[in-house]
Amino acid sequence: MSCEKMETRILAYVDGRLKESERAEMEKHLVGCSACGLRVNEFRAVAGLLDELPVIEPSGAFNARVRALVAAETQKRSGWLAWFTPSPRVAFVASMLLLATVWMGSMQRPAPPIDAQDLPVVESSDYDVISSFAPLSDLSQAPDDDSNDSDNGQQQQQPQQM
């Protein structure tokens, strides 16, 4: 076994997590390699030092706080579930409304599409007929009592004078 291969196994060796065959191979190497032997002892020392740190206990209120969180979670979920749980009356009304909507939708026949070619087109020759139509001529004569609109009124009357 090489010293490089030791690196991946040294910690498992210190922890006693190596397989029997690997452990035997490791120990064979350690007999002839003082550097690796020292490293094993140093890693053991590090592991021992880590054991010196004290274990802390959770505070007295810890369990109660977890229980409160879990209870709040359960309440929240049951609230949502109640919202989604259908009552028979609501379900009946909702289904009737849905049926009515579908039925009304099926009763309304769609309007036939408008064919643009069928629309009557105003020929330019009809313009004279429209412009000489008496009721329209009366409408174009605006009252003169509003002085602000007098210019516009004159402009509209000009074609008639001509």
Partner: protein
């Protein structure tokens, strides 16, 4: 007969609240200690541990015993701890070894001045506390992933496969990670290591 973690979790899934209580009792101390060593604040560690239990409870209906319960539990805890460490990075306190002793009485873990009067050999006590502080700082200085690996390996005694799954790496990558972490600790704690090796 003691029910396994998986059995307890399956019972929680079936609606047994008492099984959740047993899991809480079984893992509250390991979780709080793991998180405390990650985030360095007792209050924050407890808050995070509570969040871990809440997430376990929330996930009960979808729970499938495909992996060890501890792998799942500490994966949740690790993710929460790493997020918290990243969020509170600015709060890192660089406490010098020469700082006044009271500065270390952060969370009531080691209130040296309070026990000084009761301790028969104050000098010996101070030496012991200085050792602990040095060890704790050496762990805190490790990169996050290495710290998680050391804590799960040393204090939770999870096997390499479990830790590798929690950290989402291969087993050989984990072994390298742990080796590097122990190398760093060996250097950081050189005076204490030398003392131990001599004895």
């Amino acid at each position: 007969m003691t029910r396994s973690d998986v059995q307890l979790m399956l019972d929680v899934k079936a609606g047994d609240q008492q099984s959740f209580e047993l899991l809480l009792q079984r893992y509250r101390t390991p979780l709080v200690n793991f998180l405390y060593r990650m985030v360095r604040s007792r209050e924050q560690a407890e808050d995070l541990a509570q969040e871990v239990f809440l997430r376990v409870y929330r996930a009960r209906e979808d729970y499938e015993p495909s992996a060890k319960f501890t792998t799942w539990l500490f994966r949740i805890a690790t993710n929460l701890a790493l997020n918290s460490v990243r969020d509170h990075r600015y709060q890192k306190l660089e406490v010098s070894m020469d700082a006044p002793i009271v500065a270390d009485a952060e969370d009531g873990e080691e209130r040296m001045m309070e026990v000084a009067d009761e301790h028969p050999d104050i000098e010996q006590h101070l030496v012991e506390e200085a050792r602990k502080k040095m060890i704790r700082h050496a762990i805190e200085k490790l990169p996050e992933k290495q710290r998680v690996a050391v804590l799960l390996h040393k204090y939770q005694e999870l096997d390499y496969g479990e830790i590798a799954k929690i950290l989402q790496c291969s087993e050989s990558a984990l072994k390298s990670l742990l080796f590097r972490a122990y190398e760093t600790l060996r250097v950081e704690l050189a005076p204490l290591v030398a003392q131990s090796v001599k004895h």
